[in-house]
């Protein structure tokens, strides 16, 4: 690879496998994972000593030649970042990932794990926990926090107890105990209560919302999305968007970068589009690829299709289709959608109905479409002009009965 990144990642993964199959040394596993994090985060590799240490540990012959190849890839990778004008190492952030040597085996976490009814942790986390609690203050803080999650100051079961009881992955519980505090957990639960959403809707799928960057506790490599969660909710409230709908359909939108989300919503605003309608209908696609929606608005403009302000307009959903333009072309070229046909109007609801029917016809004909295409278009599909019985409410989103 010209930028050296993939070759480095592949080599480090091989080292990790070797370590896991041999001594399973926590420190070594942690060092390798740290380096992989650095590369995935597109940060400069500066710890050449570590690279050499790994090679000398895991290679038995031809060491100089392997060292040369790996260092060449490190240089290629760093050059690649420089060409991309990536800011040079941040001394404050880098201190966070500086590998601090300590005697891992001398730290005992068994009592903590037993008190939390945890049998085993991920190796990385085991290392982090040992590093954390070797400071007696930290150990006390962790134990106190765990206790306060279970019961409040009056000794009664707290509302935060749900986090303790229902977090399925105990690795996440340890991360929250190390990097969060009772006030943050309480703030999230209170916010969810205000919105009218159970904490169970986010607990196991977005555990990172209980950890903040703003309070300085979060560690490099640990997702910390409390600030994004709260910031994105505030943004959405300013647009009158129903937050409950967003959490129930696409909670990951709330952990996107706040400023990026604002920019994308501003683009919609500038196009004269009602943000509420977009988010309440296609947030799932908007959260992972907002450009699809923006491109499709332009596609519809091209065909003179209006987006109305009607809040119940299912037609907005088609904005989330990656291959909308291809499908429209298909409908037009097969004379299914035509300006001349007096049944066809230039409105989004009708187009939506036709696209639903297209997917239904593909299924009905049991057509094997190529997975790599994913666009749902097959040439010469018999698109029949047949009566399709809709559901009682004539909701086109329900599958028609086979006729």
């Amino acid at each position: 690879m010209p930028n050296g990144k993939d070759a480095l990642i592949d080599y480090l993964k091989i080292c990790l496998e070797k370590e896991k199959n041999s001594s399973k040394d926590l420190k070594s596993i942690k060092k390798i994972n740290n380096l992989l994090d650095v590369i995935n985060d597109k940060r400069y590799i500066v710890d050449f000593k570590l690279i050499e240490e790994l090679i000398r540990k895991y290679e038995t012959s031809d060491i100089d030649s392997i060292l040369y190849d790996i260092m060449l890839n490190v240089n290629r990778y760093n050059n690649y970042l420089m060409n991309k004008n990536v800011k040079y190492a941040d001394p404050i952030l880098d201190k966070d990932i500086e590998f601090e040597e300590f005697d891992v085996d001398s730290v005992d976490i068994s009592d903590i794990l037993k008190s939390l009814e945890i049998n085993e942790l991920d190796k990385d986390l085991e290392y982090d926990l040992k590093k954390y609690i070797r400071n007696e203050d930290n150990k006390k803080k962790l134990v106190d926090f765990a206790s306060r999650l279970k019961t409040n100051d009056d000794g009664e079961v707290s509302q935060e107890r749900v986090v303790y009881d229902r977090l399925g992955d105990k690795n996440n519980l340890i991360s929250i105990l190390m990097y969060s505090d009772i006030n943050l957990v309480r703030a999230v639960i209170n916010k969810l209560n205000d919105i009218g959403v159970s904490v169970l809707k986010v607990l196991n799928n977005l555990p990172s919302i209980f950890i903040a960057v703003s309070d300085g506790k979060a560690k490099y490599g640990v997702p910390a999305n409390y600030d994004k969660f709260m910031g994105n909710i505030a943004t959405l409230e300013s647009y009158g968007v129903d937050i409950k709908t967003i959490i129930n359909s696409c909670p990951n939108y709330l952990i996107n970068d706040v400023n990026k989300n604002k920019e994308d919503l501003k683009k919609l605003d500038n196009m004269g589009i009602k943000v509420k309608n977009i988010l309440e209908n296609v947030v799932k696609i908007f959260s992972i690829n907002p450009q699809v929606i923006i491109n499709n608005i332009e596609v519809l403009n091209k065909y003179g299709i209006e987006l109305t302000d009607d809040d119940n307009n299912y037609g907005y959903r088609i904005l989330g289709m990656q291959y909308l333009d291809k499908k429209i072309e298909y409908l037009i070229s097969n004379n299914i959608w035509t300006q001349d046909n007096n049944k066809m109007l230039d409105n989004i609801d009708l187009l939506y109905g036709l696209l639903i029917k297209l997917s239904y016809m593909n299924w009905k004909n049991n057509l094997e479409l190529k997975k790599s295409k994913n666009d749902g278009i097959v040439d010469n599909v018999p698109f029949e002009e047949e009566q399709i019985e809709l559901g009682e409410n004539e909701d086109v989103s329900r599958v028609p009965k086979r006729v």
């Binding site: 994972n33 196991n204 555990p207 696409c250 959903r317 997975k371 749902g376 989103s397």
Partner: protein, 99 residues
């Protein structure tokens, strides 16, 4: 390392790299952080009839940030056979059914 566990579900090394190159690193870190939830959803999808997990992650990674209960609820919106068909052949159409 992110997403290595996907190999248990027949996602290849190349496909994992493709997913990593498609999505923002922060999003993938978050996916990794809720790994247990992700695995539960993958198992459910495979039992449901999805043939290619890579295809679903690549095109609809948002599904893996839902709690399993909501994924199941979403999947009751359509005839099961048609939904399996869409998941395996035309995932682009799912959004039209609010899935």
């Amino acid at each position: 390392m992110y997403l290595e566990y996907l190999k248990e579900y027949n996602v290849s090394e190349e496909e994992i790299k493709d997913i990593i190159n498609t999505y923002d690193n922060e999003l993938l870190k978050n996916l990794n952080f809720s790994k247990k939830n992700v695995k539960e959803i993958i198992k459910y999808l495979l039992e449901f009839g999805v043939e290619d997990i890579y295809n679903v992650i690549k095109n609809r990674i948002d599904l893996f940030f839902l709690p399993l209960s909501l994924v199941k609820q979403n999947f009751t919106k359509l005839d099961k056979n048609m939904l399996v068909y869409l998941l395996n052949n035309s995932i682009d159409d799912l959004i039209n059914y609010n899935i």
